[in-house]
């Protein structure tokens, strides 16, 4: 037992969890805790908006697999975190958020900057808790870290009243916490593995759909082994991009609304579809009734409540993706010979690939977004990390940016949060300072969190923002063109701001290349300089992202042009 203040206990608890960096913004109700950071080696990265702090923690978590931590004051500070926490939680990213709260005797009396953040965050966190005395802090912090990063990962919020931070009390630091009601299923049931293997053993046209769970459980090499053993094409969901290298011969590309024609066609023809760590989001499946109608579906997921939620499956494996894939491969090796690269099924894959090879369009008079993204790839190191904003830019990045390793393509999938990519890139840079980090942005999204430029510059967390600048809320405009008879409303962003000047105002570097040579030069300079750089690339405001499966349609009904 030691005698200390709640704030001291808080810092000590973070240190025990080996936290070395947090992202936050202070305020009255969290000041005692902020003050205690003076006596700690934990780095406090000052965000300029709490949403940015939460996204930074999220980007840090996704790039590293370690927990991202953010912190805010009560009331408006706490509510500003909400979008960030929700974004992390839906994408199963381990983020722990700490909020200050008004003193205990003021709670419930509409005190200054009081918000019931426990009530507010209940449905957008995996777990939340308010501590009521200093000695509860070590256990609450331990619990938050444990729950956030086990089973299906997610965000956890801990709310700490101000007086609990300043009061002193005898307290101790538990080595472990357990909850009667918290169970997760890592070890798959051998019978479920048997059934899955039996189905796969008979498959003539096996296909794998890999989701974010493969990345979360670091199961990429197991995925590759199984795919290569069966010679099964692999599609990734948006969250699964990076689970298999883009240049792997078995990679069919992303699937879903803006998936490749190849992946979406193969999913329609497969006879057994093994879905790993994915939750059948509507953006991935298109019309549920028409999803992969020729296949028997096997679903591997660590979250039992995901099974049969959106799509009925024939067989399930509840458990960790790495263990499950390994278990299935072991069984298959006994009953099935390795697949052949000459199989009719892989020939079919090749046919699709040739049929839908995306033709290169020329950059005249505007840059074409796909070629900008490909140019970026060419001049980035292979291990570079890319984050994305949301909209057309995100889909161009998903379709055209080749990714070679897990945790190097980070995007807001479940929520599609505009403004996520830039602060997430800063968080990723904090996790991987040795690696080049680029946010592939739209001008609209970048505007939502551009104030993070201050953090990037002041905290020496240099990243590159490449804006595919169509002066439009481009994806909104695309839908208005395709589905609303070109009636643009609230989609044009006008001529401002000048992103080069904006970057310079924050002490960053800005470029506005006018041709491909200048674009290449700007990218090279940005990569070499290790200085926060905004590259503003003007693109055609009327350009659409294709392929596209219109909302409500089956994956086979993709459009390749307007």
């Amino acid at each position: 037992m030691v005698y200390m203040t709640g704030a001291e206990a808080f810092i000590k608890s973070l240190e025990k969890e080996k936290v070395d960096i947090i992202f936050g913004l202070s305020g009255g109700a969290i000041l005692p805790i902020c003050d205690a950071f003076n006596d700690s080696d934990i780095r406090f990265v000052l965000a300029r908006h709490e949403q940015g702090a939460a996204h930074m923690a999220d980007g840090y978590a996704r790039a590293s697999g370690r927990i991202g931590v953010c912190l805010a004051t009560s009331g408006p500070g706490a509510t500003n975190l909400v979008t960030g926490i929700a974004t992390a939680n839906i994408d199963s990213s381990p983020v722990v958020a700490f909020t200050g709260q008004v003193p205990r005797d003021m709670i419930g009396r509409d005190a200054f900057q009081e918000v019931d953040i426990i009530g507010v965050s209940a449905s957008i966190t995996k777990y939340n808790i308010q501590v009521r005395r200093p000695k509860e802090i070590p256990r609450a912090v331990k619990a938050a870290f444990h729950i956030s990063n086990t089973g299906r990962k997610g965000s956890v919020l801990v709310d700490i009243p101000k007086d609990v931070q300043t009061l002193s009390e005898e307290l101790d630091f538990p080595e472990k916490v357990s909850f009667k009601g918290y169970r997760f299923f890592e070890e798959p049931d051998p019978r479920e593995l048997d059934w899955a293997a039996t189905l796969l053993a008979r498959a003539q046209k096996p296909m794998i759909m890999a989701g974010g769970g493969v990345i979360a459980s670091n199961a990429s090499s197991e995925l590759l082994k199984l795919a290569e053993f069966m010679m099964a094409p692999v599609a990734t969901t948006l969250m699964g991009k990076g689970a298999i290298p883009s240049d792997h011969p078995l990679y069919a590309g992303g699937c879903g609304m803006h998936g490749t024609c190849e992946a979406n066609s193969l999913i329609g023809e497969a006879d057994v579809l093994l879905v790993v760590g994915a939750r059948f989001s509507d953006r991935t499946t298109g019309s549920i009734q028409e999803f992969s109608t020729n296949s028997k579906i096997i679903h591997i997921d660590i979250d039992r409540s995901e099974i049969d939620k959106n799509v009925e499956t024939v067989t399930r494996v509840v458990g960790d993706a790495k263990l499950a894939l390994n278990g299935i491969l072991k069984r298959l090796e006994k009953v099935r010979r390795t697949g052949s690269p000459e199989s009719p099924w892989l020939k079919r894959m090749k046919e699709f690939r040739e049929q839908y090879a995306m033709s290169e369009s020329k950059d005249n008079p505007h840059f074409k977004a796909p070629s900008v993204v490909k140019t970026l790839r060419k001049f980035l190191p292979r291990n570079a990390i890319v984050t994305t904003e949301v909209g057309q830019c995100q889909m161009w990045a998903a379709l055209y940016f080749d990714t070679y390793a897990p945790r190097t393509f980070l995007t807001s999938g479940g929520l599609g949060t505009m403004g996520w990519g830039f602060p997430a890139a800063i968080g990723a840079k904090a996790a991987r300072p040795d690696v080049t980090v680029v946010d592939i942005a739209g001008d609209g999204s970048f505007g939502m969190t551009e104030n993070s430029l201050a953090t990037s510059v002041e905290e020496d967390l240099p990243v590159i923002v490449l804006i595919l600048n169509n002066r439009m809320l481009g994806m909104v405009a695309q839908w208005q063109r395709l589905f609303y008879g070109r009636r643009y409303i609230a989609a044009k962003l006008g001529k401002t701001p000048d992103f080069v000047k904006l970057a310079e105002a924050y002490g960053a570097v800005g470029f506005q290349p006018g041709n491909t040579v200048e674009l290449e030069k700007a990218i090279k300079e940005a990569v070499d300089s290790e200085v926060t750089t905004v590259i503003d690339v003007p693109i055609d405001p009327e350009e659409n992202v294709f392929p596209m499966v219109p909302p409500g349609r089956g994956l086979k009904d993709f459009l390749v042009e307007a």
Binding site: A122, S123, F179, G181, R304, S305, I307
Partner: protein, 165 residues
């Protein structure tokens, strides 16, 4: 089509916020909870909760999985109506100014094995316990006699035999 009523039993941590989190999940799907009962167990750190809700069975199964995921929910189970005993109590205040209706009221209470808890010159308060459908029936019967007010507890339930949550 009228949705069947499902009864779900929970073992939960007996602490603030748990009820909120549980009911929040039903709210999210737009389900009106027909009844909810809670009480502590032998171990006061735990509580048992019974929720009745009208909803499609498939969705209920999925909600049960999601409830099971909650940290504060220790166990949760959808009860099979055939393997379960269910009870509910109603307190009901009847107008008895008219001697004829008073007599009829007493007869009904008797028939449903009710208890008379309070007698005033012009009203009585009675207690009836039974299956929810029995309570419905009783209320229908005494309705014409003049119900002043009533309060139902909601359903509580246990499985038959050695089954246990």
């Amino acid at each position: 089509m009228e949705m069947p009523i499902s009864t779900i039993a929970f073992l939960v941590e007996n602490k603030p916020g748990v009820l909120f989190n549980v009911t929040n999940l039903f709210r999210r799907r737009g389900f009106n909870i027909e009844s909810i009962t809670v009480g502590p167990l032998e171990n006061p750190e735990l509580a048992r909760m019974t929720v009745s809700v009208k909803a499609d069975a498939k969705i209920i199964n999925q909600i049960v999985e999601q409830l099971d995921k909650m940290v504060d929910v220790i166990k949760v189970k959808r009860l099979d109506p055939i393997r379960t005993v269910m009870r509910e109590m109603v307190l009901i205040k009847l107008n008895t100014i008219d001697p004829m209706s008073r007599e009829e009221a007493l007869r009904c209470v008797n028939e449903y094995h009710g208890l008379i808890l309070n007698i005033e010159p012009d009203s009585i308060v009675v207690e009836v316990t039974g299956e929810p459908s029995t309570i419905d029936e009783f209320i229908r019967k005494v309705q014409p006699l003049g119900v002043i007010e009533l309060s139902r507890t909601g359903v509580t339930a246990l499985e038959k035999g050695h089954l246990k949550l």
